[in-house]
């Protein structure tokens, strides 16, 4: 009996271990594949061509700078929308709303997260972009800003969900302690609960950014896809082309093994590295914050 239990345990432990490692394995495999398909870019095009400002692949113009800046400006805009709005909602749901309100709000926000992005894209084309064009007196409503607003909307549920969990996990004793010292509700939230949940909130923000930078369908539909270098603040109100939209729009028709094909994988590699960078930055900040907290507590 005891022996067979050990045998079971052995298998189960190994299974759990394997599924833990499999995540690393898959990421590594994906990256190897991206590198294998993307690196020939360097043999087939010159670096100066890659770093030029024109993207017109059917005539061998492979400047990826407009695509990178396009992705960054849309993501920046989306972050500016999603972070304050998402954290505000999370604080309201977790700290201020009465219990019944909370029970309605939380599932509703999660429902919003399940909305297919193509539906938001349609809303963007038919409602938001005409409205923004008139409101802001722009030449066209298909701009980075339109994409940012919709992406912000897509990222908000992620931010709310994770941030709310983090705030909820702060021990009740912290709040009671603050109240006992005579802190107002605002002071408690801002000075006690929020700092205590900081690492979780930061994770929420990073996940939100990750969601925004990787989103494809909505941006392809509403940002106009014009590969223009976006460096100024004004570029937010002009059409841009993101890396994800480029890959999605062009990969289906490209000849396998051509330079264009390799460049698209190279763009995928860049996107992967940016996401990795965001995540590494986030975890290092969280890690440092934890260390500091441990030092203070001990």
């Amino acid at each position: 009996m005891e022996k067979s239990l050990n045998w079971h345990e052995f298998v189960i432990t190994r299974l759990i271990k394997a599924s833990g490692y499999s995540a690393i394995l898959f990421v590594a495999l994906i990256f190897i594949f991206l590198v294998r398909e993307g690196v020939p870019t360097f043999l087939e095009t010159e670096l100066s061509s890659l770093l030029s400002i024109r993207w017109y692949p059917i005539e061998e113009y492979f400047g990826i700078l407009p695509l990178i800046t396009g992705s960054l400006i849309v993501t920046l805009g989306a972050t500016l929308v999603a972070v304050p709005f998402g954290i505000g909602t999370a604080v309201y749901i977790s700290e201020i709303a009465p219990r019944w309100m909370r029970e309605i709000l939380k599932p509703l926000v999660e429902l919003l997260g399940g909305l297919p992005s193509v539906v938001l894209g349609f809303l963007g084309i038919l409602v938001l972009s005409p409205y923004l064009r008139l409101l802001l007196d722009l030449p066209t409503g298909l701009t980075a800003f339109t994409g940012s607003l919709l992406l912000g909307g897509i990222a908000v549920p992620t931010v709310v969900s994770v941030a709310e969990d983090a705030l909820d996990a702060v021990p009740r004793a912290y709040r009671e302690g603050a109240w006992a010292l005579g802190a107002t509700r605002w002071q408690t939230i801002w000075r006690v609960t929020f700092p205590a949940a900081r690492s979780g909130v930061l994770t929420a923000v990073m996940l939100g950014i990750g969601r925004a930078i990787g989103e494809t369908m909505t941006v392809m539909m509403v940002t106009g896809n014009a590969p223009v270098l976006a460096l100024k603040l004004g570029s937010l109100f002009a059409p841009v082309r993101t890396m994800t939209a480029t890959i999605a729009a062009e990969m289906g028709e490209v000849a396998g093994g051509s330079t264009h094909y390799h460049v698209l994988f190279f763009i995928g590699m860049v996107l992967f590295l940016i996401s990795l960078g965001v995540n590494v930055a986030a975890s290092s900040v969280v890690f440092r914050a934890k260390k500091r907290a441990e030092r203070i507590l001990s």
């Binding site: 017109y56 005539e59 409503g141 298909l142 896809n225 059409p239």
Partner: protein, 299 residues
């Protein structure tokens, strides 16, 4: 997206024909012995048309089995050269080197113009501009003209809309309009041209934006948008796209759509091509938004 759609449609059509063919004919026993296959492959522009034809033809001729696949004009012609298809679809003329390659393989490509495709330039109905020359459209898309006042319109910025670069229509527009048919010309689309992934995207934006200019296949233009009358050069007549103006070649942005066979078509392939040039099949052409080829033999 087409990549996944097309095989699915092909399978569906095949399945449909197998499932419904004998039942509708009532002469199932006779059809088994005389079943004939036609392999038809090529241009993605034509594939919907070819599928519609194949479906109708098989409904009427129980003995025929037509398999239609896309993949592009070049793919279709390559398959004809290798002898793996009976009919190749192409939205461009066969190239000299392809003819040479075919002849080296013992294949004599024969051209059939099966329909025409016109590209309409569209603007918002609020836009007072009604006619443009090809040169003006070229200058608009290359970025030399960026305000409607320069072509007789209101003081508004021009928002240029185009299909994505992988669209055959994009390439055709680039060569015929932007570069005015001159292959030495290296003019490119202005960098701030909006590249929209679908015809619907262009239609939706033109419908609500008086600054916009776009282009699309004639059959895909809804009634509530305004088509521009186009002149080949300044001083010549401005022509609106329509079935008659495309057929008499006065409308400048139109191209022929082709089917190629190996030599003079024989047997069922000949019957099928004759049917395609007939009234019934050419009505399907008009329904799908293409321009019917004139009913007289085209070469």
């Amino acid at each position: 997206m087409n990549r996944f759609l097309l095989p699915a449609i092909t399978i569906f059509v095949l399945f449909f024909s197998v499932a419904c063919g004998p039942a509708s004919s009532g002469a199932a026993t006779a059809s088994d012995s005389s079943t004939t296959y036609i392999e038809n492959k090529g241009s993605d522009t034509i594939v919907n048309l070819a599928l519609a034809w194949a479906e109708r033809y098989q409904a009427e001729h129980a003995e025929a089995r037509i398999s239609v696949t896309g993949g592009g004009s070049g793919t279709g012609i390559a398959a004809l050269i290798n002898g793996t298809v009976d009919i190749a679809n192409a939205s461009r003329k066969i190239k000299e080197e392809e003819i040479a390659e075919a002849q080296a393989n013992g294949v004599e490509p024969m051209e059939h113009i099966i329909a025409r495709d016109a590209i309409a330039v569209i603007v918002n109905p609020e836009n007072p501009v009604r006619e443009l020359t090809l040169k003006q459209i070229s200058d608009i898309y290359s970025g030399k003209i960026s305000n409607w006042t320069e072509v007789g319109g209101e003081n508004r910025p021009i928002v240029r809309l185009s299909r994505e670069t992988n669209s055959g229509t994009h390439v055709y527009f680039l060569e015929t309009v932007l570069r005015l048919g001159n292959s030495e010309d290296k003019t490119l689309f202005s960098m701030d041209t909006l590249l929209l992934p679908s015809s619907e995207g262009i239609v939706a934006e033109v419908r609500q934006n008086p600054n916009a200019i776009g282009y699309d296949g004639l059959g895909y233009v809804p009634k509530d948008l305004k088509m521009i009358a186009i002149a080949k050069a300044a001083g010549e007549a401005y022509v609106l796209p329509s079935i008659p103006t495309v057929n008499d070649k006065t409308y400048p942005i139109a191209r022929d759509l082709y089917m190629y066979t190996d030599g003079e078509p024989k047997g069922i392939v000949k019957e099928y091509l004759d049917w395609i040039m007939g009234l019934e099949a050419q009505e399907i052409v008009a329904e799908l938004g293409f321009v019917p080829a004139s009913l007289t033999p085209s070469d």
